[in-house]
């Protein structure tokens, strides 16, 4: 390998891999959700109203966008939030769907509708309820907790990170893949990309909310408080960790 092509391979490995594959033949839908900012508090007032001080784009979902774009496919972003959608399109998604959904169940419903229209090969997102819920509703293969994924002939090969083991699965497409939550550092995006994203098309979609079947009658924020207790012996410590903190 010449020095120049070696450099190209190091810098653009996926581009080199896909040079002979012609037009983008695959379509990936990526979901970008909002989560409460982990560094800001969640408050609940006396009436039980939950106040999320600040929402951010779920970083694992953003990594999913990055990964989909790297696979050199057509990427469609879905979000309940316009800023999340713009950031996904700045990462390289070609267009977006802005949906109304109050929870993961409604979100899965909206995704079912979008998947029926778009017939994607792959639906990608971070961990959580929406992915397996959607896979169940669509009857698609699922792989959760993916540390890595690659396209193989007619399918996708996923390395799942499980407690105590790594599992490699091959799924027929279409499939739903969720990324492991440790993949939480998305790429930086440039200002130019953000400006360009504003020209990309966004379609709004409202799906009738499902019959919820549940009713929230109370809420409390879980404060970060320390128990702050001195124990007298190792026995007492082990007992406290097992029975009180239930952490081992």
């Amino acid at each position: 390998m010449s020095a120049a092509s070696k450099l190209a391979y190091d810098v653009f490995p996926l581009m080199v891999n896909n040079l002979n594959e012609g037009e983008r033949s695959m379509k990936i839908i990526v979901l970008v959700r909002q989560i409460p900012d982990p560094d800001r508090p969640i408050r609940v007032d006396a009436n039980g109203h939950v106040d999320i001080v600040r929402w951010i784009a779920n970083p694992v979902d953003e990594v999913a966008v990055d990964r989909a774009v790297e696979l050199d496919t057509e990427v469609i972003a879905v979000s309940t939030d316009e800023a999340c959608l713009l950031s996904a399109m700045a990462r390289g998604a070609g267009r977006g769907y802005l949906v109304d959904a109050v929870d993961d169940r409604a979100l899965a419903k909206a995704l079912v509708e979008i998947a029926r229209r778009e017939t994607p090969d792959l639906i990608l997102m971070g961990d959580g309820e929406a992915g397996p819920r959607l896979a169940g509703a669509l009857g698609m293969a699922q792989a959760t907790g993916a540390a890595n994924l690659d396209l193989v002939d007619g399918g996708v090969r996923v390395t799942r990170k499980l407690p105590g083991s790594l599992e490699v699965l091959e799924l027929n497409m279409p499939a739903v893949v969720t990324l492991h939550r440790s993949l939480s550092v998305p790429k930086l995006i440039s200002l130019y990309a953000i400006v360009d994203a504003r020209d990309k098309p966004i379609e709004r979609l409202t799906v009738a909310p499902p019959e919820s079947g549940i009713q929230v009658i109370g809420a409390e924020a879980v404060p970060k408080t320390r128990i702050g207790r001195m124990v007298e012996s190792v026995d007492e410590l082990v007992h406290a960790l097992r029975e009180e903190a239930r952490v081992i």
């Binding site: 397996p132 819920r133 083991s165 699965l169 549940i214 702050g228 012996s233 082990v238």
Partner: protein
């Protein structure tokens, strides 16, 4: 609840079942893929059957909930009649939720324990019969148990300070506890600067910031520089010979002891 199907043999899910219904069926899950397991579970359910399982089966529970479009109650750690205590946003919010449908899917926290005083005889456990998936194929599975997890991914982190003298002692005293807990090993700035531990193990403002379920600080005084990298851990344990060490102020459990005695005993009793 009319009928409940309990997945797996976890104590938490079975205790939840005891608190919510008089009769329930328990099925053990064979080694198979999520889609095949969910299909087999759906075949065992009828119009009136709810499903409960431990939170480590969350992805299967969510798939079942999706297939039937049922509500999924997650991080369940309490029940009172038709209301459950459930969680969202990674446990940052607890909600009391009234279930108004005939059936739902429940993901039960591993710390769930029954409130019933009388022990209910467990129903017979039968193995779920599962047809292999046609769309998902297992290629390989490799154990990572003997490798220590990376610092950022560990559920438990055990950190050592400068009082561990040298790298041999560092491994000798911390290693056994770390491996018993499947934990990652970490170090304070003092330990790294005196060459006892590697800088990749450094937790603190100038190193890694971690927030595991359990953080055990051994022989660490609790300088701000270190505390800044671990104060968001869910449960913090401090073991130090000095009863005035500032680490005790941010710990959930403190033990004043010589680590050379406490750690071997801890390794033995875990």
């Amino acid at each position: 609840m009319k009928r409940l199907l309990v997945l797996g043999e976890s104590r938490a899910a079975i205790d939840f079942a005891r608190d919510t219904c008089i009769r329930f069926d328990t099925v053990s899950l064979p080694d198979s893929t999520d889609d095949a397991l969910a299909t087999a579970i759906l075949a065992r359910m009828d119009e009136g059957t709810s499903v409960a399982g431990p939170s480590n089966l969350f992805d299967i529970l969510a798939r079942v909930a999706g297939a039937l479009d049922l509500p999924l109650l997650r991080e369940v750690d309490g029940v009172d009649g038709d209301t459950v205590r459930s969680g969202s946003f990674d446990g940052r919010l607890r909600e009391t939720i009234k279930v108004t449908t005939a059936r739902a899917v429940f993901s039960v926290n591993s710390n769930y324990r029954s409130t019933a005083s009388a022990a209910v005889e467990p129903s017979a456990i039968d193995a779920l019969s599962v047809a292999p998936s046609t769309s998902t194929h297992l290629v390989s599975r490799t154990s990572t148990v003997h490798q220590r997890p990376p610092l950022h991914e560990a559920r438990v982190v055990v950190a050592g300070g400068r009082s561990l003298k040298d790298s041999g002692q560092f491994e000798q005293y911390l290693g056994k506890v770390v491996d018993k807990l499947g934990a990652a090993i970490a170090a304070s700035g003092g330990a790294v600067h005196s060459g006892i531990a590697s800088s990749t193990q450094l937790v603190g403002q100038t190193g890694s910031t971690v927030a595991p379920e359990l953080y055990i600080a051994v022989g660490i005084s609790g300088a701000d520089q270190h505390v800044g990298g671990m104060q968001d851990s869910r449960v913090i344990v401090a073991i130090n010979r000095d009863p005035h060490a500032s680490i005790f102020r941010i710990a959930d459990y403190g033990l004043v002891a010589d680590l050379r005695e406490a750690l071997p005993e801890l390794a033995e009793k875990l």
